[in-house]
Each structure stands twice: as C-alpha cells, then as structure tokens.
C-alpha cells in the first residue's frame, strides 16, 4: 500500500486509526468511495468543487475509522481509497454501507461555507500481496454504486458463467425438469440397486412437503378473510405527502400524462407533491407536454435522472427532492383510488413505517391473459399479502402502491443491484425492526402485461429477484434477534421454503415412477392418497375462491374469471410459475444478470451494461 500513499499524497497518519499496524503482504479489503460528479439536479460539478467535496468526505470519514482501517485520497480521480481488514463479505459490506450512510446522511460543509448534499458509492474487493491492487475495476464498481444511489457497497467480481451449455431458456427448462424429475428417480433406483429402498420415505417426504405448502396456502387464505383495518384518523393537520412516480419514458409516454393528471386530482387533506422521476435515452415529445403540465400545477415536479437504468435509481434520485413526511411509490400506469393518501396516512400515523396497498388490474377485460393476471393480482394483493402479513407478522412492499415514512426510505434506499429491489428493501426493513402493513382496501389500478412473452419475462425476473434476495438473506433473517419467533418462521417460509418448493412440487412423479419400477404397478386406490391429493390440488382453487370473495367490486362481478383462473391454476399456471422459479434459480447460479463489472482493455473501465431488457424496461 506504499504505492497508494505515494500516489495519493496524503499523509497516512492523518487518516489512519492510531491502532493500525500495516502488513503489506497480507490479504485485505480495498474499497473506493466515489463521489457523484453531478449535483442533485444532475448539473455537472466543476473539478475544484468535486475535490473540495472529496476532502470534506475524507474529513467526515476519518473520525469513523476503527482499528486496522486506513483511508487515502485519490485526488486525480476524485475518490477515496479505503483499506480494511478482511472479514466475511457481509460484514465488509455492512461496514462500508455504514460509512457511506455516515457520509450521505447530512449535507457536507466545505471551505467556502456552502453545504452540499452528496451521492456517494462504494466499490470493493479483496486484495492479496504487497503490490498495488488493480484499482480500476474497483473504481468502476464504485461509480456504478454512485449511479445506484442506494448506499450499498458493490464488490467487484469477475464475470462468472457456469453451465455454459445452458444458454437458452429452452435448455434451462429442460435442465430444470431433468433435475426435478430424473435426478430423484435415478437416485431412488440407484440406491435400490445398492440394497436401500427409500421409496416409502420418499413418498411420505413428498406428501409432507406438499401438505405443508398446502397448509400454508389454506391458512393464508383464512387469515386474509379478516384483514387488519387501518387505525383511526389521526388528529391534527395532515402532513405533507409525496408521490414518486418512476418511469422509463419511452415505455410510458402514452399513459404518463393521464397518470399525472390522475395524481394531481387526488383529494389529499394535506399538501401533495407529485414527483415524476424518469429516465430516457433521448428526448421525447411527451417531455414538452410534461413541462407544460408542470407549469400549470406547482405540485408537479419533473426529474430526469440522467444516469439511471432502473426504477431503484429513479426513486433514490427522487428522494433528495421529496418534501413529504411520507411518500407513495408508484409505477407510471397507476391510478390510486380517491383518498388513498389519507388512508395511507392513518397506517403511518398508527405506528407503521410502510403500508402496501392493493394493486388492481384495470385492463382485465382485454384478453384471456389479462383476465388471468387480474385474478392473480387479487389472489396476490387481496389474499396472499394480507394473509401473510397476519400469518408471518410482517408485510411486504410490492414495489408500487406502497407508502413509506420518508425517513425510513431515505435510510434504506432501493438497491438497483437487486432484480426485485422491492423485496430486497422489504426484507431489510423488516429485518431492521420496521413494520410493514398490508391494506387490501388501499387500492390502485394498473395495467397487466398483454402478451405471454412479457408475462413470462416478468415472472422470470420476479422469481430470480426473489431467489437473489432469498440466497443472501434467509440465513441471517431466521436468526435475526430483532424478529419474533413468528417472524423468523415467516422469513423461513418466505425465503427458504418458498424457494425450495418448485423443486419438490413435481416430486410425486419420480416417486410414483420409482414405485412402479419397483413393484410393476402402483395402487392409486388408497383413500389417504386421494385425500392428500385433493387437499393439495384444491389449495389453489381455494385461494381463487377466497380471492373472488375478497376481490374489489369491479372484479367480483366476474365470477367466471375466477373459475377460469382456478382451472388454469390446476392445469397449467401453477406449474408454469414453478418452471419460472426453477429456471430463474438456474439463471442466477449461472451468473446471468448478476451484477458484474467488466474491465475493458482500453480506456476507463465502466460498469458492464446489463442485459438490454433490464436496461430498457423500467420496473
């Protein structure tokens, strides 16, 4: 690290904890804390101001260092370089996130007496040996983190590609069935040939897993029948509220003006700020309309997030401009019901930090597919979310039509590195002791995907996002001392059991095949087999029935839609979602869509662009 000291010209003693003893040959963590080169309005800062800000960050961070930590300044690139002792990746990330939050919490004062709100980002990696580490990729990771504005440290990783043969979705589907069907069958047969008959054990294991899953679904449906009601209207004047509408404008240009008009017509008791945080690769004609609309109503603010490629980045960027005590997060096609903000306020004034509303499909009569999705959304928002919030003792933020205490959202930020930043922030919120309510009466209308391809793509991403969050969170959450036993069990059900079930759902087939191979016949006339099969198969239709009973009035008048959904669930839809979940896990394990910084052979290195669809479609 001598190179670092020389290169950055900052006396080590000024920025090193007194107890630090440097051992250059050891394994250590090297991190880069980069500062945004744009202000909150996306105006480019001049270099002198940027350097002054970096120095201010250095001053602020120096007091936070603990034993074994070192920070230096790279004046040339306008960033800080930190050196930390090695630890578990999660601990390193936690530490770096703490430092980033410490820097970003309050505006930074600089020498001329001005104060500046700042976006910082941290990239890091583990380095071994005395030579100066290759900092470029870590810088690239840090700059990507700045763009995310989620205060979440990004570790540089070499691109990984496992199972290079499984490139197409078709091959991944085939592989998922091979793993789910052939592997258990081959295992049972192989063990049988070795003299070990696990048929009965496998049978009862399959029955037990399906029974537990069905029990959770039945119980979820029952709990949903009695959803928690919002607390009473709080006394006193209504506080300021904000609506943040995140949009990828090329996708939403036809609906965004209508959406904004709908928001501006909201009858909130207090003052409502409407903030459109959008990104677009090029200027669009609709931006003129938006500007004209904003000129007529001062409550509307437009924020083009120039370096954004995701909803999380848009929301994080908008947080600097939010003036409300609480903020509703919406997608660009949402039409919240009249009085939505007043109803949300009741929850937040009643001790909750977040309340998730009920997203209702408004184009259900468009096609069979939208009917299916419309009913499924009722099942999700009128049954699963409220049912689970009682069953598990915590709710989930679904990404849209969710209302946050602004301070909580500012603290946690959305992470663009997550495919489902809503689930990620939900788990982090609950894990840190925040309370999330689910209110099916807090309705907002939205549009459903209209093609099977877009639906498949959506569900694949949801599934992979869930798996991404589950893989990184489940072990920590089930032992999280801040959670009650019920909540820990809920975390296990949500992040552990839920991910495993798509693999177990088809287990009866290989087990039956094995029994047939072993005995030459399989008896299906056991009453217990019939009863357990009925119990399992009916769980889906029971949820559909419950969804119909709990559906909003405009959908409840279509009982055939629900019957159609129930039949489709049994025949196709349930297994299709299982396939999506299995394929998503394979994709994740292959490293597809994983956050990757790809060093380039020439020029400065940047965060590798994500897949086109990820960039193009804003969630």
């Amino acid at each position: 690290m001598a190179l670092l000291d020389r290169a950055f010209g900052v006396p080590v003693d000024e920025t090193t904890h007194p107890g630090t003893r440097r051992a250059f040959a050891r394994k250590r963590v090297v991190a880069v804390m980069a500062v945004s080169d744009r202000d909150e309005h996306f105006r480019v800062r001049d270099l002198r101001l940027r350097d002054a800000l970096v120095e201010a960050v250095l001053d602020r961070i120096a007091g936070e260092l603990t034993a074994g930590e070192l920070v230096s300044m790279d004046a040339e690139r306008g960033a800080l370089v930190l050196e930390l002792p090695t630890a578990r990746p999660s601990a390193v990330r936690h530490r770096l996130n703490h430092l980033a939050r410490h820097v970003a919490r309050d505006p930074l004062p600089i020498g001329d007496g001005t104060r500046h709100a700042l976006d910082v980002g941290v990239g890091w990696d583990v380095v071994v040996g005395p030579a100066a580490p290759a900092l470029d990729p870590i810088f690239a990771a840090a700059h990507d983190a700045v763009r995310q504005r989620d205060l979440d440290a990004k570790q540089f990783r070499d691109p990984r590609r496992f199972w290079s043969g499984l490139r197409t979705v078709g091959s991944q589907i085939a592989a998922s069935y091979a793993i789910a069907l052939l592997v258990p069958f081959a295992l049972l047969v192989g063990l049988n040939l070795l003299g070990l008959d696990l048929g009965p054990a496998a049978y009862w294991f399959a029955v037990a897993t399906l029974a537990v899953t069905s029990a959770l679904m039945w119980s979820e449906s029952l709990f949903a029948l009695d959803p928690p009601q919002p607390p009473d209207e709080p006394e006193g004047p209504a506080p300021r509220a904000s609506a943040v509408i995140a949009a990828y404008l090329p996708n939403e240009s036809e609906t965004i003006v209508e959406t904004l008009r709908h928001f501006l017509a909201q009858d909130y008791s207090g003052r409502l700020q409407v903030l459109l945080a959008y990104n677009t690769p090029h200027r669009l004609p609709v931006e003129d309309d938006l500007t004209a609309l904003a000129a007529t109503d001062p409550r509307l603010q437009l924020l083009r997030v120039h370096d954004s490629t995701s909803k999380a980045q848009n929301v994080n960027a908008a947080l600097r401009h939010v003036t409300g005590e609480f903020v509703g997060i919406f997608d660009a096609d949402h039409h919240p019901m009249p009085g939505a903000f007043d109803r949300a306020r009741r929850w937040l004034a009643g001790g909750y930090d977040v309340v998730q509303g009920h997203c209702v499909i408004r184009n259900g009569d468009e096609s069979a597919l939208t009917r299916l999705v419309a009913v499924e959304f009722e099942q999700i928002y009128a049954v699963s979310h409220p049912g689970r919030s009682v069953q598990h003792g915590f709710g989930i933020f679904g990404g849209s039509n969710g209302y946050w205490r602004t301070s909580a959202l500012r603290e946690l930020r959305m992470r663009g590195s997550r495919l489902t930043e809503d689930i990620d922030i939900s788990i982090r919120a609950v894990g840190s002791g925040l309370r999330i309510a689910s209110d099916p009466g807090l309705v907002s209308l939205e549009l459903a995907p209209v093609t099977i391809r877009s639906l498949w793509s959506q569900r694949l991403r949801w599934a992979q996002g869930w798996f991404q969050v589950s893989a990184t969170s489940v072990s920590a959450q089930v032992v999280n001392p801040l959670l009650t036993t019920r909540q820990k069990l809920g975390m296990f059900a949500l992040l552990g059991w839920r991910e495993a079930m798509p693999w177990f759902a088809t287990l009866p087939l290989p087990v039956m095949a094995y029994l047939f191979w072993r005995d030459g016949a399989v008896s299906l006339s056991s009453p217990l087999f019939l009863l357990t099969t009925l119990y399992t198969v009916l769980a889906g239709p029971v949820q559909a029935l419950t969804a119909w009973r709990l559906a909003v009035p405009r959908l409840r008048t279509h009982p055939r839609w629900f019957a159609f959904y129930a039949v489709m669930t049994i025949l196709v839809y349930s297994e299709a979602k299982n396939v999506a979940a299995r394929v998503a896990q394979l994709k994740h394990l292959r490293g597809e869509r994983q956050w990757v910084v790809t060093p380039r052979a020439d020029g400065p290195r940047h965060a590798a662009p994500r897949s086109p669809r990820r960039v193009k479609v804003l969630r």
Binding site: S219, L222, L225, F377, G441, P449, Q458, W462
Partner: protein, 435 residues
C-alpha cells in the same frame, strides 16, 4: 373455546364457549365465565376412562372392577353430561338476555356458523385422517365416513363409535345448535310481543321446558316401557336422551339473565358442598349399581343436577371464581380442551398401535401412566391444532358482518366503482416482484 358473552348484547349472540382467561367477571362490559378449565378437567377425566377401557378391553372382568377404576365410568359419564349442561347455558344465555329485553339476539344463521367454524374443522380433519388411515382401499366403509361428516352417526347402531368414538357427543351438540338456531327467531318474536319481564321469562323457559319434557319422556319410555337394552346406542347416546342436560343449562341461563345471584359466600359454599355430596353419592351408587340395566341410564339425571350445583356458584356469582380456575396452566388447558377431547382417541389408538399402551397386566398404575401419555400427546396435538387449524378457521366468520349478512370489504369503493373504459395499452414487460 374463546368467546365472551355481552352483558348487554347489541349484536353478538351467545356461543357455547367460556372465557379464555380464568377470571370470571366483567371486562369491557362483557361477563366472562371461567368454565373452560372445568371442561378441561372433564375432558381429561374422559381421557382416563377411555385409557382404562382400552387397556382392559372388557371392563367387566374382575381385574377392572377395582374401586378407583370402576368410578371412572361414572366420572366419565358425568363429565360428558357436564359438557352438555355448559353448552346449554352458554348458548342460551345471549338469547335469554336479549329475549328479556324484548329484542332479537341476532342472526341465527351466524350463531350456527360460529359453532361450525369453531368446532367443525378439527372434527372433520380428524375424521378424514382417521378414516383415511384405517381404510386402506377405496371405497372403504364410506357409510361410516358420510355419517360422521354429517354428524348423523348417532342414529347408527353400527357406526356411532367408529372412526372417532368420542365424536358422538359433538354430533349431539350440533343437533342442539341447530335446534336453538331454529327456535331463535320464534323466541325473539314471542318475547317482543310480551310486555312483561315475567311473561318473557316464561317464553324463554318454554323452550327448555319442552326440551326437558321430550327428553324425560324418551328416557322414561325407554327405561320403563320399552326396556331398551343399554347396548342400543342410538337410544341412549342420541340427542333426545341428552336433551334434559341441555335444558338444565338453558334454565340456568334464563335465571342468570334475570339477575339471579348467589350473593353470599355461605350460599356458594353450600351449593358446592351439596353438589360435592351429591356427586359422591352418585359416584358411590352409580359405580356400584348394575350398569347393564336400562335403569342405570337414569343416573344421568342425577349428574345433571350435580352439574347445576357445581356450576351454580360460578354462573350466579360472576367475579367470584376460585383462584384455581385462573391458574395459567389450567386456563391453557381450558382453551384447548376441545382439541384434547377430539384428538385423544386417535392419539390413544396410535399409541396402542405402537405398543405403548397395551401392558401385559393392566392395573390402576398402568391406567394412570397411559393416561399421562395420551393426555400429554393430546395436549400437544390440541395446542398445534389451536394454532394452525382452529384459530385460522375462525377467520371464516369474518366474511359475515355483525348482523349476519355478507360483509362488504370495500365500502369506500362501492360508491366509487364504475366500469372504466379500457385504456390504450402499452405492453409492460416487467413490474415489481409481487410475491
């Protein structure tokens, strides 16, 4: 078994359940009776009798006729009668209170639904599971399944005790619930048209009066005229034979609603002492009398009277429950007493199947040990059932509003909802991870 009885009910009808906490008294305007711990004790007594019966097979054999074990027969029978008296009291109390005020106690169908949601899920699951395990090939003995699921096994000489023997008393209880639901509107109608409190009391007493008269006539005919064998189960274990017990509880409910109180400690003690003395006499004579004659069935009437004397100090003196009934373990057992009762026989059969309950030479000690084993397992099963089955199933009631009508979950939207024109659509490739 959680419910409270409103002191001045506006909408909530009565339910045959007692308070989950032991303290009898008033909380938030609702009188709470610590009857669940008593039911727990009664359920555990029934468990012991069934273990005794299971271990000996034939309880008329000499080894089974030792004094402490013989008394189990009486204690078990008296316990089941106590259940019926308590049910009669709790179910009729709300109706009696409302009737005395000349108004309706609420929706009869909702009252019935409450009973179904509270009791039927565990009952049905147990029946289905036990039937599924004990019938290995379809169609199995499907008649047995149908009778049990429809609570009509009490009319079958062959199947009444199949699948889950103790479940017969649940079938009897449900017959009583249906009867009460049927008479509720008529009672309310009549009470509303009678001006005096005395007249309304008579109206309210008429129902248990008729019930008791029919039951006594049935018992009298069966014992004295038909001399029906004691092994003709539908006669002695049917609803009509048990009607006097329900009627006893209903009469207590009417007097309690009228404000009859045992104010002095002396009166309460006298009641308990007399009840205990009567129970002792019943125990001694019942256990020593020939149990294979129809006349033996008459002892149930004595048990009903003893029940009144035992329950009287609790239901006529709210707020003065013995501290033992507020003891937390007993309160816990009370809250899960229904599960203990329903689950104990399947648990006992499973333990027997595993060889844990069939000693070579059964005696009093093996019965006690077996009782501890079965009770422990049944308590565990009941606790689980309470958490994962019975509690969630009660949520079914939430689909009704307080007046028994279909609940509107979105009253704020009903006025707003109008069919919206389909907007122009933009394909949305992905949205949030809804979960």
């Amino acid at each position: 078994m959680t419910a409270t009885i409103p002191a001045a009910p506006a909408s909530a009808p009565s339910a045959p359940v007692a308070a989950p906490v032991g303290a009898a008294g008033s909380r938030g305007g609702k009188v709470r009776y610590p009857l669940d711990p008593i039911r727990a004790g009664a359920a555990l007594a029934v468990v012991m009798f069934h273990v005794y019966q299971y271990q000996f097979g034939d309880i008329t054999q000499p080894a089974a006729q030792v004094a402490p074990l013989r008394m189990l027969t009486v204690v078990s029978s008296a316990s089941v009668d106590l259940f019926f008296v308590i049910s009669g009291f709790l179910l009729y109390l709300g109706i009696a209170r409302a009737g005395l005020e000349g108004r309706s106690a609420g929706s009869a169908s909702l009252m019935l639904m409450r009973r179904v949601a509270r009791l039927y899920p565990l009952y049905a699951v147990t029946v289905l599971l036990v039937w599924g395990v004990t019938n290995t090939r379809l169609p199995g003995v499907w008649q047995d399944l149908v009778l049990h699921l429809t609570m009509t096994q009490i009319y079958s000489q062959e199947f009444i005790f199949w699948t889950n023997g103790p479940a017969w008393s649940l079938a009897v209880e449900f017959h009583f619930y249906v009867l009460v639901a049927l008479v509720m509107p008529g009672t309310a109608w009549a009470c509303a048209r009678v001006a005096s409190r005395r007249g309304r009391t008579l109206v309210l007493l008429a129902v248990p009066g008729v019930l008791a008269a029919v039951g006594l006539a049935w018992l009298g005919y069966s014992i004295l005229v038909a001399r029906t064998p004691v092994t003709h189960w539908p006669t002695w274990f049917g609803f009509v034979a048990k009607a006097p017990m329900f009627a006893t509880g209903m009469v207590m409910a009417v007097f309690s609603a009228r404000g009859v109180r045992m104010h002095g400690a002396f009166g309460r003690r006298i009641s308990v002492v007399v009840g205990a003395a009567l129970a002792a006499v019943a125990l001694a004579l019942g256990a020593s009398s020939a149990s294979d004659t129809p006349a033996h069935e008459g002892w149930h009437l004595v048990y009903a009277v003893a029940s009144v004397l035992v329950l009287g100090p609790l239901v006529f003196s709210p707020g003065t429950a013995p501290r033992v009934l507020t003891w937390r373990p007993l309160v816990f057992l009370g809250a899960i007493s229904y599960g203990i009762y329903i689950l104990h026989e399947p648990v006992m059969r499973l333990a027997g199947h595993l060889g844990l309950l069939v000693p070579a030479r059964p005696d009093t000690l093996t019965v006690v040990l077996g009782w501890l084993l079965v009770s422990g397992a049944a308590v565990f099963g009941a606790w689980i059932s309470r958490s994962v089955l019975e509690g969630p199933a009660l949520k079914l009631l939430a689909v009704f509003s307080a007046d028994g009508r279909r609940r509107e979950y979105y009253p704020h939207l009903v006025a707003q909802e109008q069919p919206a024109p389909t907007p122009r659509l933009v394909p949305l490739g992905s949205r949030s991870a809804r979960g």
